[in-house]
């Protein structure tokens, strides 16, 4: 064993260099790997050891790190011993296979060489030959040292890969066996080729991004939520009502801290700045309290609140509210185009600086001013550039003050430099941790959409009734037919399953055959052609009150995304 350390002239710095530059830039050097490699190499060096040409010191205290290259270097002479120079070209292969048998680790490794392995092997062969030549030649010139280094590097690198492959297999096995704990298994698997099982911590965000988006690395488990009963709206709200937030008091306290800044914010608004409150948590209450504060300060001051989270928000809504908030004398002549109407409104606002005297109700000499408070300025309906420039135009007016809240971390990209200037924003960190109200965030829909489960649909049976009311008679008839068929199918299925009760959520899964429904529809004179039938179905699809899919043999199936009891009541309503 001691003799293997004989070739100490192997350049130590090289070894350390290799450690500094792992082939994967995101790898953290892992000390644990070294022992394994050593173990793998030991037998080889034991064989080769006696061929070392120089015996220097037998310093057992040498670190494992330093000795690794030495061992490697000791190896080639073995083939030199077995083969004559002429047959060298073939020897490495043979030697290699022999080695495999010796190395315990390799036994479970895949022996079939990949294409890359084959390519590497020839390079390896050449470099091995170069090393052997040098050892046999005995003389080592400077040039040779350099060449030798390159050759050794090729030799070593291919060896590293093998070792890596081995380890990966082992690691994979280890991963399989770990129980799904609270750190999900997929986390480790993303490590992929990595030797270290833990992903690197404390990387800067951009590095993290590239690390996690390395191609082929996102391995996640195949678990699905199929075993879990997803929540329905009703269940969600009934449980939500009982849940108590343990942080409620702290959240309230935080809110009261923010409330202390109200005078400051009011001052900033009065100085022509707009304020933007950002941070995690719902800021709707805060803004509402701010509105009460402002109006308590100056009751004559008009405050308009815009709820950005309302999905149907349009520029016209905003405009109409603005007009209703201001004295009617300021209303623009025409409101056919919101953009021009707003311009006209603002012009009117500028020109009537002190002409409020003609208004009998308003106190004299109080200039009309308006405060606009926007909830969730970065909500999807407000993200359209048209609306943002609409708001910016509003904010730029000296008599209009604007305060808004923002919920996403990157809301600042909403505005370009010009908009930013006209908004003239001041930002305040208003992290509230307050839970979002149902109106702000439709939790169940959001999550189901995220999971791709059920798309947003007309809400419940009332929605269906509403939709059907706007459709022609034959569409209503078709839907009644469909509901009836689905209920019949559900009843049959229930019969088949005997005692097995149909889960409330699974009623939607009951499907009827498209063809069958079509035939029945023709029979009942609902439609005369498949074309017309399709058109009717399309209408239902648009309102998301039916879903369709194909089964394994390609039969088209139609189903209704409602619970059984809902279906029954719909049917009742339709029949009446």
């Amino acid at each position: 064993m001691a003799r293997k350390k004989s070739l100490t002239q192997a350049p130590v710095p090289r070894a350390s260099k290799k450690r500094d530059l792992p082939d994967d830039p995101y790898e953290i050097p892992d000390e644990a790997e070294t022992p394994r490699r050593r173990r793998r190499l030991e037998p080889i060096s034991r064989v080769n050891g006696n061929l070392g040409d120089k015996t220097v010191d037998e310093n057992g205290g040498k670190s494992a790190l330093e000795s690794t290259p030495v061992k490697r270097r000791g190896r080639p002479p073995k083939s030199a011993a077995t083969g004559t120079p002429k047959t060298q070209a073939t020897t490495p292969t043979g030697r290699r296979q022999g080695q495999v048998a010796e190395t315990p680790v390799r036994r479970d490794g895949a022996d079939t060489p990949s294409r890359r392995n084959i390519a590497d092997r020839s390079a390896r062969r050449k470099s091995a030959r170069a090393l052997i030549d040098r050892v046999i030649g005995g003389t080592v010139s400077d040039d040779d040292v350099e060449e030798g280094d390159i050759a050794r590097e090729i030799y070593e690198s291919s060896e590293d890969e093998e070792a890596e492959a081995d380890e990966q297999v082992e690691e994979g096995e280890a991963k399989e066996s770990t129980t799904p704990s609270r750190t999900p298994g997929r986390k480790r698997k993303t490590a992929g080729r990595k030797r270290s099982p833990t992903p690197p911590r404390d990387l800067p965000p951009h590095e993290q991004y590239f690390y996690q988006n390395k191609p082929g690395l996102s391995k996640t488990s195949n678990n699905t939520l199929s075993s879990l009963d997803l929540l329905t709206h009703d269940e969600y709200f009934s449980i939500l009502r009982q849940l108590k937030d343990p942080h409620a008091a702290d959240v309230d306290f935080l809110q009261s801290l923010h409330a202390e800044s109200f005078p400051q914010w009011a001052f900033e608004l009065s100085q022509g700045f707009s304020t933007c409150f950002y941070g995690y948590g719902s800021k709707r209450r805060l803004l509402h309290n701010f509105a009460s504060y402002l109006s308590s300060q100056d009751p004559s001051h008009k405050i308009v609140i815009i709820n950005g989270y309302v999905r149907t928000l349009t520029a016209r809504d905003i405009l109409n509210t603005l007009i209703s908030a201001l004295p009617s004398s300021l209303a623009p002549a025409s409101t056919s185009n919101p953009a021009t109407a707003l311009q006209a409104l603002l012009v009117n606002l500028t020109t009537t600086t002190t002409t409020t005297t003609d208004n009998t109700s308003s106190p004299p000499t109080v200039a009309v001013a308006l405060t606009v408070l926007v909830n969730s300025i970065d909500a999807p309906p407000l993200r359209r550039p048209v609306l943002q420039s609409f708001l910016a135009q509003l904010a730029a007016h000296p008599r209009v003050r604007l305060a808004c809240t923002a919920d996403t971390p990157d809301f600042a990209y909403l505005w370009d430099a010009a908009l930013r200037t006209s908004l003239n924003l001041l930002f305040h960190d208003c992290t509230t941790f307050a839970a979002r109200a149902p109106c702000e965030l439709e939790v169940v829909d959001e999550v189901h959409e995220l999971l791709g489960r059920r798309a947003r649909r007309a809400g419940g049976k009332e929605g269906v009734a509403f939709v059907l009311r706007s459709l022609p008679e034959n569409a209503r008839a078709l839907f009644r037919l469909l509901v009836g068929e689905v209920l019949v199918a559900a009843a049959e299925e229930q019969g088949n399953h005997d005692g097995l009760l149909l889960g409330a959520g699974e009623a939607g899964e009951v499907a009827v055959e498209y063809r069958m429904v079509y035939n029945k529809a023709v029979e009942e004179f609902i439609c005369s052609s498949e074309m017309a039938f399709r058109t009717l179905l399309k209408e239902f699809h648009d309102h998301q009150i039916i879903t369709s899919h194909k089964d394994s043999i390609g039969t088209e199936l139609l189903s209704l995304p409602f619970r059984k009891d809902e279906l029954e009541s719909i049917l009742e309503e339709l029949a009446s």
């Binding site: 996640t220 202390e260 005078p263 001052f267 709707r284």
Partner: protein, 717 residues
């Protein structure tokens, strides 16, 4: 106004409305607060009543010193702010408007000329505005004003976002050109019709008819269309518009203006050649941002009109932001305003800025004096007094309130003197023409380290530069100094100070006369006048051995005149070093009263770390909530954290693709029945839903189609 009655809907109903007029129907607290939690409501209310009792107009400032500040002081601070800022704002607006004046003149005269010389082409002005689209607004606004008065043309401003296609662009042009006209004429309401039929709103014919229908004296068939951000327009749209305008040229005289951020060459490359040939154009440059910034700083920051001083470090970071980011001068002005607001709003000592007459002694309360005694500059002053063995002075400062008040009142005068001296010194340094640094750099340096003529400005110190003067430069330098003293600097608001600097002027005159005499003499001797220093500077470049030899030679060859000249230079350096000597701003007693140098509010409010704030809230909720339960987590994962925070932690650990089933099981393992939180499964699921929905709403995850029940990570904070 009638809407009020029916907006007595409850808060909950308002939630689902897109927009509504806020109406606090009950003015007193007895009214039902609309389902608002009473606790929070009260907080806001108390605050309001405590602080805002007697403030009929505009929001008042809060009382400082924990509410102990007297209402007079509060009012005084507010008044001070309201008098200090508008002065500056006017000056700044003036500067900004003046900066564009040249461009405006050029553009106007070009358009006039082009109108007279019938080129058969479309007149086009290319205005190189630079990359900052924010500052273009003012320019185009001014152009609109100017052109509509000077040429009686209709002016239409187009932005790419407003005109995505030809139809929209034409609609906008026609609308603006006609509406504005109607507005000017007191709603004459000219209905543009053609035999009773209305024109389509993108038919230029309508515009033509409108223009011909105008009353005689106002008749003008010119329409100027300005493309503010020409780069952002689709090039085919531009081409279409240009050829359309060209074809209408005989009926309506269209002129076009392009705001160009890059270069005319690039712009031209985007146009079809035949279109480009229809243009007859000229290029105009806008004043450089840097020079505008410099002028603004001179006027509003450094000038005598500035009520408070922006400290060197804040000023530097403001200026750097201007240079590094394309922030625009408006942002600078806003930042400046915000600094003023901060100072008067939050610094109780800012009342001391009031002029002598307005600050009755009685106004200074013990709180003020106590606050003053905690200031750094007070401590420095006291320590300096002790070191200088002025123990009485030091003791009185600390113990005798009356004494301190006197000293404080004296400071007002001293501050004026210091600032005047500082500005004059900077003015003189600039007048020497020997320093390459810009005024801004010079000013910041002077505030930071004071003025010392032997300190290096950029590369060479003023002293060295002075030594290298030759006689002609010497004389012209003295003349320049005279000029500066006589005229002062109007930009800085600095009048000439000849009467104050009689002695200085006198010595300078003597020096100049002497040099003049020396020059005469050396001219008659046919030698060139040089100084010891200019000779030496040549020696410096040779070897060490040679240096000695040459140096002695050189001094040997110095004539009597040369020696006199050397003496004159020395005298000038002495004179300047005495006269320009200036302390850094924070050496002054009570500088805290009138210097604002805090970068924190500025940074928080103008360049907030958005991502970091969200990241921190989610990863360390305890920092915000200060709750009893989560303190132990210390940025780690704990079951007591808010749901979204837990999910965020798991999210951070996950890869780019997240399996929701695993996420759920991990979450449930943490808070589920077996853990110490012990949430029942369905309840946990409700929380999980909420957390997930919030993550989605904040844009952290999106649906992934790669695998069932998987979501994709979107954010790396």
């Amino acid at each position: 106004m009638n809407e009020h009655e029916d907006i007595n809907a409850s808060f909950e109903e308002d939630d689902h409305r897109a927009a509504f007029v806020f109406n606090l129907s009950s003015k007193d607290d007895s009214g039902k607060p609309y389902g608002r939690p009473p606790k929070r409501r009260r907080t806001a209310r108390e605050h309001a009543t405590a602080l805002q009792k007697d403030s009929p107009s505009g929001p008042a400032f809060p009382a400082l010193f924990g509410g102990a500040e007297s209402p007079e002081c509060v009012k005084l601070r507010k008044d001070l702010f309201e008098t200090a800022w508008p002065v500056l704002e006017n000056r700044i607006q003036h500067v900004l408007r003046e900066a564009n004046r040249n461009t405006l003149d050029e553009v106007t005269s070009f358009l006039e000329q082009a109108a007279e010389a019938d080129t058969g082409k479309l007149t086009a002005g290319f205005i190189i505005t630079g990359p900052n689209i924010a500052s273009q607004d003012l320019l185009f606004e001014q152009l609109a004003e100017r052109l509509s008065t000077a040429t009686r043309a209709r002016f239409v401003r187009l932005r790419a976002s407003e005109a995505p296609n030809l139809k929209a662009a034409l609609k906008k042009i026609i609308r603006d050109a006609t509406v504005r006209g109607a507005d000017e004429e007191e709603d004459e309401g000219v209905e543009i019709t053609q035999g009773g039929r209305k024109y389509l709103d993108y038919d230029i014919e309508a515009l033509h008819v409108f223009l011909t229908q105008q009353p005689q004296q106002q008749q003008s068939r010119r329409v100027v269309v300005a493309f503010q951000d020409s780069e952002a327009f689709d090039s085919s749209l531009l081409t279409d518009l240009i050829s359309l305008f060209h074809s209408w040229r005989d009926r309506i005289q269209f002129d076009v203006l392009f705001g160009i951020a890059t270069s005319v060459e690039l712009f031209q490359a985007r146009l079809v050649k035949s279109t480009a040939r229809q243009l007859y154009g000229a290029q105009f440059d806008v004043a450089q941002v840097n020079s505008v910034l410099e002028t603004v700083i001179k006027n509003a920051v450094a000038g005598t009109h500035a009520g408070i001083r922006i400290g060197p470090s804040l000023l530097r970071s403001l200026v750097e932001r201007q240079h590094n980011q394309v922030a625009g001068i408006q942002i600078f002005v806003s930042s400046l305003k915000y600094a003023y607001m901060c100072h008067f709003y939050a610094n109780p000592l800012s009342v001391l800025l009031a002029e002598q007459g307005r600050l009755p002694r009685g106004l200074l309360k013990p709180e003020h004096l106590e606050a003053i005694r905690t200031l750094d500059s007070f401590r420095n002053q006291a320590e300096a007094a002790v070191e200088a063995r002025q123990l009485n002075h030091a003791q009185s400062l600390i113990e005798d309130d009356e004494y301190l008040v006197n000293k404080i009142l004296e400071q007002g005068q001293k501050r004026q003197e210091y600032l005047l001296h500082l500005l004059r010194a900077i003015c003189l340094v600039e007048a020497t023409g020997l320093c390459s640094a810009s005024f801004t750099d010079l000013y910041i340096l002077a505030l930071n380290t004071g003025i010392n003529i032997d300190q290096p400005l950029r590369t060479v110190s003023l002293e060295d530069a002075l030594k290298r003067l030759n006689p002609d430069e010497f004389v012209s330098l003295i003349d320049r100094l005279f000029g500066a003293i006589r005229t002062g600097s109007p930009e800085l608001g600095l009048d000439g100070w000849e009467s104050d600097a009689e002695e200085f002027v006198h010595s300078l005159t003597e020096l100049r006369d002497e040099i003049d005499g020396l020059r005469e003499r050396s001219k008659s001797n046919r030698t060139t006048l040089k100084s010891k220093y200019s000779a030496q500077s040549r020696v410096m470049r040779t070897t060490v051995v040679a240096q000695k030899v040459q140096l002695s030679q050189d001094t040997a060859t110095l004539t009597e005149e040369d020696k006199a000249f050397t003496n004159a230079i020395d005298a000038l350096i002495m004179l300047l070093s005495q006269d320009l000597q200036c302390d850094p701003i924070d050496n002054l007693f009570l500088h805290e009263v009138w210097v604002f140098d805090s970068k924190v509010p500025y940074r928080d409010v103008f360049v907030p770390p958005l991502g970091a704030t969200f990241g921190r809230a989610l990863s360390r909720p305890h920092d915000y909530l200060a709750c009893a339960c989560c303190g132990k987590a210390n940025g780690g994962l704990a079951a007591t954290l808010p749901t979204t925070a837990i999910l965020y932690h798991l999210y951070l650990e996950a890869g780019a693709l997240i399996n929701v089933a695993d996420l759920w099981s991990a979450y449930y393992a943490l808070v589920g029945e077996e853990s110490n939180i012990g949430l029942e499964e369905r309840s946990a699921l409700v929380c999980f839903y909420r957390g997930l929905a919030e993550l989605r709403m904040m844009g952290f995850v999106k649906q992934s189609k790669k695998k069932a029940d998987h979501i994709a990570k979107l954010k790396w904070l």
